[in-house]
Symmetry: C2
Subunit: 492 residues, 2 copies
Amino acid sequence: MGKKLTKRSEDYSKWYNELVVQADLAENSAVRGCMVIKPYGYAIWEKMQAELDRMFKETGHENAYFPLFVPKSLFEAEEKNAEGFAKECAVVTHYRLKTDPEDSSKLIVDPNAKLEEELIVRPTSEAIIWNTYKGWIQSYRDLPLLINQWANVVRWEMRTRLFLRTAEFLWQEGHTAHATKDEALQEAELMNNVYAEFAENFLAVPVIKGVKTESERFAGADETYCIEALMQDGKALQAGTSHFLGQNFAKAFDVKFTSNQGKQEHVWATSWGVSTRLMGALIMTHSDDQGLVLPPNLAPFQVVIVPIYKSQEQLDAISQVAKELVQDLKLHGVSVKFDNRDTHKPGWKFNEYELKGVPLRIGIGPKDLEKRTVELARRDTLTKEFVAKETVVDTVITLLKEIQENLYNKARDYRDSHITTVDNFEDFKETLDTKGGFISAHWDGTTETEDKIKEITKATIRCIPLNAKNEEGICVYSGKKSLRRVLFAKAY
Amino acid sequence: MGKKLTKRSEDYSKWYNELVVQADLAENSAVRGCMVIKPYGYAIWEKMQAELDRMFKETGHENAYFPLFVPKSLFEAEEKNAEGFAKECAVVTHYRLKTDPEDSSKLIVDPNAKLEEELIVRPTSEAIIWNTYKGWIQSYRDLPLLINQWANVVRWEMRTRLFLRTAEFLWQEGHTAHATKDEALQEAELMNNVYAEFAENFLAVPVIKGVKTESERFAGADETYCIEALMQDGKALQAGTSHFLGQNFAKAFDVKFTSNQGKQEHVWATSWGVSTRLMGALIMTHSDDQGLVLPPNLAPFQVVIVPIYKSQEQLDAISQVAKELVQDLKLHGVSVKFDNRDTHKPGWKFNEYELKGVPLRIGIGPKDLEKRTVELARRDTLTKEFVAKETVVDTVITLLKEIQENLYNKARDYRDSHITTVDNFEDFKETLDTKGGFISAHWDGTTETEDKIKEITKATIRCIPLNAKNEEGICVYSGKKSLRRVLFAKAY
C-alpha cells in the first residue's frame, strides 16, 4: 500500500501515473520508455486478449507469427509507411558483444560483427508480412487470407507514459488479403465494429466509430477506421484502428493473384490493431480518487472475500462459510479470491482491494456468522449492504451485471454530455478551454485548416463519424463550405 | 500440396525440413535465421501454450511482461550469464533512420541517433527481471515470487533450423524468487516435473528427467534440471530445462530481503523455460514418410470429415449427415472440421490431411449413406474401417484416446530399445555409429573427459538421470573411478 492518491481534480495526469503504479498494474523499467507489466495488470490484459482472440476466430481469422525484425530493404519498400515510422525505430546493427580489452569485466559491441544489412525492430509488420504473403498468394483460391498476430512492437517515442505511449508495447495486428476492393473495405469496417463491440461490452467504454482525415491516417493506408473514446479529463483517446490499405503493399511487394477470370491482379489489403493502450483507456474511463474501478467482465477476480476475526477460532468458523461461498460462486461462473492471509489486517485489505478495483468485496465477521449475513461492498458506487447468506450468490450475479452496465452508462452519459456542437471559432476555443470533450464542428476538408486549428488550439480531428449526417455548413475556422460536421478534441 | 516427401531412411534431416514446410507449420523468412510460424503450426503452439499456462497457474504462478531490451550494463552484471550469451546477441545501437542523401528512395541509419548505451535484444530475461525484482522484494512476506513470461527471445545462432534452432524463437520463461535454498531447489525440480508431465501427456513424447553436467549447465545456474527426449534418428533433444540459480543473480543485482528473524539475506532464484523447439520434438518423434502425425491432445482439429460426391444432390445428402456428426462430436468435446470445399477433390484432401497429421479422417460417400456407415481412417496406423453411423461418436472418442496412448507407447518402446548400456569405449563408439540413441556409461565426473569424448565422438552427456542408481564403476574413457552411469548421446 502506497500513500494516498493525488485527486483527479488536482492533477489528473499525476493521479493516473500514481494509480497505475500503486494498483500494481505497471511500472517504468530500466529501459527508457519501456514498461514492466506487473502480474495484476497483465491478468487484465490476458482477459482482453482472450475475448479479442475469440472474436477474431469467430470472424474467421487465424493466428500466426512473423519475425521481430524487418530488414531495412523491406522496411523502405512501401514509401509512405517507411516515412511514417523511420523517425522512431530501433535499429539492430551488430550481432555480438566481446570483452572490453580495457576492462575485462565490461562488454563492448564487437566491430567485427556488423550486420551486412541493418534490421529494424518491427514498429508494425506490414512490410515483413507482405513480403511473406508474396509466397502464399498465387490464385483467387488462396484468398481471402485472414491472419492475426499477437506480438510486441517498438516505436521510439520521445515522451512516454505507462500504457498510453511506450517505446515497446504489446498488441495484436491483423493483416488480411482480398481479391476485391469491396471485400477489403468490408473487412476493415467489420474489424472496426469488432473493436467497438469489445470496447463497449468488455471495457465498458463507449466509443464513436469514424474514419480519420488524411493527415491522421496510418502511414500507408488509403482509409483508417477508428474508435474514439473520451476520458474523464475531457481528452479523447484513440482506442483502436482498422486500415484499408488499398493495393499499396501489394504493389510495393509485388503480390498478385490470378483471378477466376484468369487475370493477374494486385491483391487488396487491410490491417488492424489494438494494444496495451486499451489498459490506459480502461483505467482512465472508470477509476476514481480511491483507485482503480474495473468492469466485472475484465476483472482478474470479480469478488474478494475478506474475513474479519480476532481469534483462530473465529477465523476457522468464517473460513468454513467463506469456502462454501467460494465454491458456490465458482460453480456459477464468478471468479473469486478468498484472502485469508494473516500477515495483513482487514482494514488494510479493504483499502488494497478498493485501490485495485475489485468489483465486489464480501466481508464476513463473527456477527455475520450469528446473523447468517455477509457484508457486500460495491466498488463502483462505494456502497455497502448486508445480505442474507442464502441469497449472496444470486445478489452477486445480479450486481456484477448491474456494475458492468452502470460503468458503461456512466461513461456514456459523461461522453454524451461532452459532445458540444459549435458554429464559430470563438465558441470552439472557449468550449475546449472550459469544458473539453468532443467538439462537433464544420470543417472545410483541407489539411491546411486542420493544421491551423491544431496549431492554435492543440485540438485535432479525432474522426469523421460514420453516422455523421450530410449537413451543409460553414467551416468553423476558414468560413468555407463544409458538407458535414467532424469531431475535434485534444487527445492522448 | 507439394511433391512427395523424402523418406526418413534416405535423409532424415531433409525429410524434416520438407515436412515442416509442406505441412504448413513454418518456413524461413527474409530475416536470416528467423522463421515464420504459419497458421497451422501456430495453432499447435497455441494448444501447447494453453496447457502449459494452465499447469503454471495451477502451481501458483502468475504471468507478467518485462522489456524486450536489456541495457548493456545490466546484461553484463551476472558475469557467467553475460559470457554465455554475449557471442550471439542482437544489439540495438540507434533509434532512428533518415533519408539517404545520395538516394531519396533509400533510408540509412541516422548517425545523430546513436544510443548512449547499447540495448541487447533479450536472449533470456534474468538480467532485466532481477533488476526489477530488486524493487519488488524487501521482506520475507514478498516471497516466494512466482512469475512466468510468454515472450520472444533472440540468439544469433550461426546454423539454424526451423523450430529446432532459430535466431528468434517463442518461449515461456519462469523466474522465481525464494527465501531459502531448499525452496528454490524444490521449485526447480517441480517445474522440471511439470515439463515432463506435459511432454508425456500432451506431446506423447517420453522423456528422461535428469540434471546437466557443469559444462552443459545454463550460463549462470548452479544446477540445471532437464528433460531429454529421443528422436527417430537416434539423436537426443533437450525438450525443457529448469535452473536452480542459487544466489548468483540476487548477488549480481543486490536483491536482499529481511527474513522473519530480521536478518538481511540474498534471495534464492530459479528460472525455467520451454520454447517453440517443442514443435521440433513433436514433429520428429511421431511423424512418418507420409507426413506429420499429431497426438490428439495437441491437434488443431482431431477429426476431419471429407465428403465424396459426384453431384450436388449427393453433396447435399452427405452434408446433412456430416453436419449432424459435427454437432454431435463437438458436443462430446471433439474438435472437428468439415471440409466441403468444392475447389479440391477428395483424393487431394485425403493426402493433405495425411500430410498434416490429422488423427482421424472420416470419409462419407453415397454408398455410406445407403449402408448408414462412414469410413474411419487412423493417421497413426494408416488403417481404415467402416463404422456404423450410430456408433461413430463413441468410436471416435475411444480411438482418440487410443491414438494418444499408442503414439506415446510407440515412442517409449523406441526410446527404451535405444538406451544401451556399455562398459568400454570401443562399444561406446560402435553403438553410437551403428545404433545411436542414449548410451548409459560410467564417467569419471571431469569436464576434461567429457570434452574428450565429445571431441572424438560428437556425443555429449545429455544428463545424469535423476533415477540413476548408485553403482560404482570405471569411466568408459579414462578408466578412473565412477559412482554412477550417465546418459550420452548425439543431440539436436
